[in-house]
C-alpha cells in the first residue's frame, strides 16, 4: 500500500495541512493544489492514484472538475473522494451523478477520511 500517491485539491491551507499530516503519517505521498481552474492539468501531470477534491474552489468548482475528469477515458475509474462544506443533499446527488467514488461533508473525522482513502486505494489496487 505504500508509495501510493494522493492529490489534494483544496483552497483552505489549514485543511491541506491537516490532511497532509494524516495521510503522510500513513505513508502516502500527498501533493496539493489550491486552484480549480488548472486542476485537470495538475491531475494529468501528477497522475495520482487518488484524488481528494473540494467542491468550492476558486476558478472551477469541484463538480465541474469531476465531470470533466470522468469524460476523459483514462480517469473514468480514478478514485475520487469529494469533500464539501456546503452540506446540502443536492450536492451529494450531483456528485454521485458525476461519478464520485466517495462523498464526505466537512467537518469530517480524521478516521473517516483515513478509512475512506484506505478503502479507495485498496479497491484500485485490486482491480
Amino acid at each position: 500500500m505504500t508509495g501510493r500517491h494522493v492529490l489534494l485539491i483544496e483552497d483552505e491551507p489549514n485543511i491541506i495541512e491537516a490532511i497532509r499530516f494524516l495521510l503522510t503519517r500513513e505513508g502516502w505521498k500527498v501533493d496539493s493544489h489550491t486552484h480549480g481552474g488548472d486542476a485537470i492539468e495538475v491531475v494529468q501531470r501528477i497522475k495520482p492514484d487518488l484524488l481528494i477534491l473540494d467542491v468550492m474552489l476558486p476558478g472551477k468548482s469541484g463538480m465541474d472538475i469531476l465531470q470533466e475528469l470522468r469524460a476523459l477515458p483514462e480517469y473514468a475509474n480514478l478514485p475520487v473522494l469529494m469533500l464539501t462544506a456546503r452540506g446540502q443533499m443536492r450536492d451529494r446527488d450531483m456528485a454521485e451523478r458525476a461519478g464520485v467514488s466517495r462523498f464526505m461533508t466537512k467537518p469530517f473525522s480524521n478516521i473517516e477520511v483515513l478509512d475512506a482513502v484506505r478503502d479507495l486505494l485498496t479497491q484500485t489496487s485490486r482491480s
Partner: protein
C-alpha cells in the same frame, strides 16, 4: 218642368245606395281574393281623379268666366307631374310601400327618424288647410241642391240643414268603407272602386253637358269657337308669374294633398299602374277640361246676368229644360264632392288618429308598450271619431263662413298650405342630408308665412284692415301682401313665392347645420336609395337593403371600428372604390357569419334577412335588436375584461412565483455560502484537535502550531458569526444608530490605528490633515467600522510592496467624500461589480475574511445616508465613502 225636390233626394239616395253596393261588393270580392279588375291600372287612374273635386267640376267654369284660361293651370300642374315626374312618383310609391306608410304625415315622420312631432305638425297643417276645402265641397253640394230646390218652393230648405245632412251622410259613408277593415293598414278596395265609379260619372256628366252645349246649343265646333272668341274668355291675358305660381301649386298639391297621397301611394296595388296613369290621368284631366271654356262662353251668353258662373254646368241644362242632363250634371258634381270628402276625411282621420289621438290615448292609459287586439279596436274607433271630427270641422267652417263667395278662393289657398310639405318631401326623397330639424323649421316658416300672407287675410276679419294696409305695428315691410317691401305682385304669387322660398331655404340651411340621429340616417338611406338595389331581380324579394343600412346595423353589433374595418375589407375584396361593399350574397354570408359571432346565427340571419329582404319589421325593431346585442356585446366584453384580468393575475402570480424561486435559490446559495464559511474553520478545528488528541508523538512545535491554528480558526468563526449577525441587523433595518457629533479627522485617526495595530505588514499612509477638519453628525463607531474595513482590505489585498494608502477628503455641496486609494493593481472589472456582494472574495485570496466586509460597509453607509462605491481609474484599489456633512456647522 223642374225636377221635384223629392225626386232629387231620391236620386241622390239611390246613387249613394249604388255606391254603397259597389263598395260593399268590391270589398267582398277583394276579401275572397278574386276580382283582379279591382286592382287594374284603370281603377287606379280613375281613383286619382279625386283631384278633380266639385271645385273643379263646377268651379272650373266659374274660374274660366272670372279669369279666362287661367283655370288650365289647375290641370296643368298634375299633368306635368304625371308626365314629367312619373319617376319621382314611382320613387314616392316605392318608398311608401316599402315603409308601409299610412299617410303623408306618416311618410314625412318616417323619413325624418320617425318623429311624431313632425307628424303632428304635418297633420295640423293638413287639417287647417283641408278643412276649408271640405267646407267648399259641402257648399257645392248644398248650392246644387238649392239650385234645384228653388224650383220647388213647397219645400222649406235651408243651406245649413242640407249641409248638415250631407256632412252626416258623407261621414257615415267614410266610416263604413274607410274604417271597415279590422286591419287598419289594409287597402280600401271598396272605397277606391266606388270613387272610380264616381270618376266615371263626373267625366260622363261633364262630357254630356259639354257635348250638349257645343252641338246642341252652339251648333258645332266652329260656331262654338266663334262664340268663345266673341266672349271675354277668349282674351288671352296671361300673367306669367301667377300662371307659374298656380301651376306649381297645383303640381305640389297633387303630390302633397293627403287625399291624393292616399289614393296614389297608400291604395296603390302595383307600382306599374303608374305607367298607365302617367298617360291616362292627363287624358282624363284633358277630357274634364275640354268643355270648360265652351260651357263658360255659352253660359255667359245664354244665361241671365248675375247667374252664378260656378253653377253654369247645372243651370245651363236646366235653363234649356234638359232636366235629365241637369240631373246627370248634378250627380257629377255630387260625385266630385263626395269622393273628395270621403277620401280626404279618411286620409285626415288616419293622420289624426295615428299621430294625435293614439299617442295621447296610449300615454293616458299608460299602455304604450303593449299592443293587443284591444288597441286595434281603439285605432278604428279613433279613426271613426276623427272622420266625424274632420267633417264636423268642415261643416262648422262652412256654417261660419256663411257659404259666401269667399269660399271659392279657398281651393288655391288650401293648395298653398299643403304645398309647404313639398320641400321636406322632395328633399327627403333625394337628399340624405335632409334632417328632421330642417324639415320642422322649414315647415314652420312656410306654414307661418302661408297663414300670415294667404289664409288669414283671405278669411277676412281675422286680420285688422290696418295690418293689411300698414303692416303690424306700422311696420310696412311686414305687410301680409307686400313682405319686405315687394309690391305689385298678386297676393297668391306673393305668398307662394315667399312661403316656398323661405321654407326651402330654411329647410336646406337647418339640415346642413344639424346632425341626423341614427334612425334618421338609416331612414334617409332607405328613402333616398330605395331603388338602388331593388330594380334588379337577384332572388331577394322586395327591397334589397343598402350597404349603409347593413353598416349601421353591423356597427351596433360589432362596434363601430370593427364593423367599418370589416366593410372596408369586403369593399377591397370586391374591388369597390369606396368603403362600402356591394351587398352581394357572398358578402352577406360573410357578414352574417361575423354577426353570428356576436348575436348567434339565428338572430344574425334574421337581422340580415330583415334588412335585405325588406321585410315589414320596422327599423326601430331592428335597432332595438341591435341595441340588445350591443348590451350583450358589452357584457361579453366585460367577460373579456375579466378574463384579461385573470390572465394578468396569473401572470403576476407566475412572476411572483419566479421571484420567490429566485429568492429561494438566492437563499439556498446564501445558506450554502454560510454553511461553507462556518464548516471550513470547523473542519480545521476538528481535524487538528483530533490530531492533537490522537497523535502521541507530536513535537512541541507541532503541538503549538496546531493549537494556534485551532485558535485562529475559532476567532475566524467568531468574526464570521459577528459579521453575519451584523449584516442581518443592518439588512433587517433593526440597527440602532448612535448618532453623535464629531470631526472626520478623529474618526479616521481612530480607524487607522485600529486597522494597522498589530498588522503583519507595514503600510505607508498619505493624509492631508488640513482637509479632514469636517464636522459630522453620524454614528461615528459605524463610520469607523467602514473605514477600518477599507483600510484592512488595502492592507490585505494591496499587491505592491511596500503597500501605500492615500486618504483623500473632498467636501462639496453638503457632502463629504473620503477616498481610500492604495498603490496595488486594484480590482478587475468583474470584481468591481461583485465586490459588494455577500461572500465575495477576490479570487485565490485567503485572508481570513468571509467576504462580508464590503456588503456590511455598503449597508452601514446606506443607513447613514451615504454610500460606498468602488472608484475605478485611480491606479490602484480605490473606494470612496460619501456621507453628509453636519449642516449646522460651517466648514473651517
Amino acid at each position: 218642368m223642374m225636377a221635384s225636390f223629392n225626386l232629387l233626394v231620391a236620386v241622390c239616395l239611390g246613387y249613394v245606395a249604388i255606391l254603397f253596393a259597389v263598395a260593399f261588393l268590391a270589398d267582398r270580392i277583394a276579401a275572397t281574393g278574386r276580382g283582379r279588375w279591382l286592382r287594374s291600372p284603370l281603377i287606379y287612374t280613375l281613383s286619382l281623379s279625386i283631384y278633380c273635386t266639385a271645385w273643379t267640376f263646377y268651379g272650373a267654369v266659374g274660374y274660366a268666366v272670372r279669369s279666362g284660361l287661367e283655370f288650365v293651370t289647375i290641370y296643368l300642374g298634375p299633368t306635368i307631374v304625371m308626365i314629367g315626374w312619373w319617376w319621382g312618383l314611382r320613387k314616392l310609391v316605392r318608398v311608401g310601400r316599402s315603409q308601409r306608410v299610412t299617410s303623408i304625415a306618416d311618410l314625412l315622420s318616417s323619413r325624418y327618424g320617425k318623429s311624431n312631432t313632425l307628424a303632428i305638425c304635418v297633420t295640423l297643417l293638413a287639417v287647417i288647410g283641408i278643412t276649408p276645402y271640405i267646407a267648399l265641397q259641402l257648399q257645392s253640394i248644398t248650392l246644387s241642391f238649392t239650385t234645384f230646390s228653388e224650383a220647388d218652393p213647397s219645400r222649406g230648405w235651408s243651406d245649413v240643414s242640407s249641409g248638415l245632412w250631407v256632412a252626416g251622410g258623407l261621414a257615415i259613408f267614410a266610416i263604413l268603407f274607410g274604417t271597415r277593415n279590422l286591419d287598419a293598414n289594409e287597402r280600401h278596395h271598396g272605397v277606391v272602386t266606388a270613387i272610380a265609379l264616381e270618376a266615371v260619372v263626373k267625366l260622363v256628366a261633364l262630357l254630356a253637358v259639354g257635348i250638349f252645349v257645343v252641338w246642341g246649343l252652339a251648333g258645332g265646333v266652329s260656331e262654338t269657337m266663334a262664340r268663345i272668341d266673341a266672349s271675354p274668355i277668349g282674351e288671352w291675358n296671361v300673367d306669367p308669374g301667377r300662371w307659374s305660381a298656380i301651376t306649381f301649386l297645383a303640381a305640389a298639391a297633387f303630390v302633397c294633398l293627403p287625399r291624393m297621397f292616399q289614393v296614389m301611394v297608400v291604395e296603390i296595388d302595383n307600382e306599374r299602374h303608374l305607367h298607365t296613369a302617367a298617360w291616362a290621368f292627363p287624358l282624363y284631366v284633358f277630357l274634364m277640361s275640354l268643355f270648360v271654356v265652351p260651357i263658360a262662353a255659352i253660359g255667359l251668353e245664354l244665361l241671365p246676368e248675375g247667374t252664378n258662373p260656378d253653377l253654369f254646368v247645372l243651370t245651363l241644362p236646366l235653363s234649356q229644360g234638359r232636366e235629365d242632363l241637369a240631373m246627370l250634371s248634378f250627380l257629377g258634381g255630387f260625385s266630385s264632392a263626395t269622393s273628395m270628402v270621403i277620401v280626404a276625411s279618411m286620409a285626415l282621420s288616419t293622420m289624426l288618429s295615428n299621430h294625435i289621438v293614439m299617442p295621447i290615448w296610449l300615454s293616458w292609459t299608460g299602455s304604450g308598450a303593449s299592443v293587443s287586439g284591444d288597441v286595434r279596436s281603439v285605432v278604428l274607433l279613433a279613426r271613426r271619431v276623427s272622420i266625424v271630427v274632420v267633417l264636423a270641422l268642415g261643416y262648422f267652417y262652412y256654417m261660419l263662413s256663411g257659404g259666401g263667395a269667399g269660399l271659392a278662393a279657398i281651393g288655391l289657398i288650401s293648395f298653398a298650405g299643403v304645398a309647404q310639405m313639398l320641400p321636406p318631401l322632395v328633399g327627403g326623397l333625394y337628399w340624405r342630408g335632409a334632417t328632421r330639424s330642417g324639415a320642422l323649421a322649414g315647415l314652420a316658416v312656410g306654414a307661418g308665412l302661408w297663414l300670415y300672407t294667404l289664409l288669414l287675410p283671405g278669411l277676412g276679419g281675422f286680420l285688422p284692415e290696418a295690418v293689411l294696409q300698414q303692416g303690424p305695428f306700422g311696420l310696412s315691410w311686414l305687410r301680409p301682401h307686400a313682405l319686405f317691401g315687394i309690391t305689385g305682385l298678386d297676393p297668391m304669387t306673393h305668398a307662394v313665392m315667399w312661403s316656398m322660398a323661405l321654407n326651402t331655404l330654411v329647410f336646406v340651411v337647418v339640415s346642413l347645420i344639424s346632425l341626423p340621429d341614427p334612425v334618421e340616417r338609416l331612414q334617409g338611406a332607405q328613402f333616398v336609395d330605395v331603388f338602388e338595389h331593388s330594380t334588379g331581380l337577384r332572388g331577394w324579394t322586395g327591397y334589397v337593403a343598402q350597404s349603409e343600412d347593413l353598416l349601421v346595423m353591423a356597427q351596433r353589433i360589432l362596434g363601430a371600428s370593427d364593423a367599418q374595418a370589416l366593410f372596408q375589407r369586403e369593399a377591397k375584396r370586391q374591388g369597390a372604390r369606396g368603403t362600402l361593399p356591394e351587398p352581394t350574397p357572398d358578402f352577406l354570408q360573410r357578414l352574417e357569419r361575423n354577426l353570428a359571432g356576436s348575436v348567434g346565427a339565428a338572430a344574425a340571419h334574421a337581422m340580415i334577412a330583415q334588412i335585405v329582404g325588406g321585410s315589414s319589421v320596422s327599423v326601430e325593431d331592428l335597432l332595438a335588436v341591435a341595441d340588445e346585442s350591443a348590451q350583450m356585446l358589452e357584457y361579453s366584453s366585460q367577460l373579456e375584461a375579466k378574463s384579461a384580468e385573470l390572465s394578468r393575475t396569473a401572470r403576476q402570480l407566475r412572476e411572483a412565483n419566479e421571484m420567490l424561486t429566485r429568492l429561494s435559490e438566492q437563499k439556498d446559495a446564501f445558506l450554502g455560502q454560510v454553511s461553507h464559511e462556518l464548516r471550513t474553520p470547523m473542519t480545521s478545528i476538528r481535524a487538528f484537535s483530533e490530531i492533537l488528541r490522537d497523535t502521541e508523538d507530536l513535537t512541541p512545535a507541532e503541538t503549538t502550531r496546531y493549537a494556534a491554528i485551532i485558535h485562529d480558526e475559532a476567532l475566524r468563526l467568531t468574526r464570521l458569526l459577528d459579521d453575519l449577525l451584523d449584516l442581518n441587523v443592518l439588512e433587517s433595518g433593526q440597527v440602532s444608530l448612535n448618532m453623535r457629533s464629531g470631526v472626520l479627522a478623529q474618526v479616521l485617526e481612530h480607524a487607522l490605528s485600529a486597522a494597522l495595530a498589530g498588522a503583519a505588514r507595514k503600510m505607508i499612509v498619505h493624509r492631508r490633515p488640513e482637509t479632514e477638519n469636517i464636522p459630522l453628525h453620524s454614528d461615528l463607531d459605524r463610520l469607523a467600522q467602514v473605514f477600518i474595513n477599507l483600510i484592512s482590505n488595502a492592507l490585505k489585498y494591496c499587491d505592491t510592496e511596500p503597500p501605500e494608502l492615500t486618504i483623500r477628503v473632498q467636501s462639496q455641496g453638503g457632502k463629504v467624500s473620503v477616498d481610500f486609494i492604495d498603490n496595488g493593481s486594484g480590482l478587475t472589472e468583474e470584481a468591481q461589480t461583485l465586490a459588494f456582494e455577500k461572500f465575495y472574495r477576490v479570487s485565490g485570496e485567503k485572508a481570513g475574511g468571509a467576504g462580508l466586509g464590503l456588503a456590511i460597509c455598503r449597508e452601514i453607509m446606506q443607513r447613514l445616508d451615504g454610500d460606498v462605491t468602488y472608484l475605478p481609474g485611480q491606479g490602484g484599489g480605490a473606494f470612496r465613502v460619501t456621507l453628509p456633512i453636519r449642516d449646522d456647522v460651517k466648514v473651517a
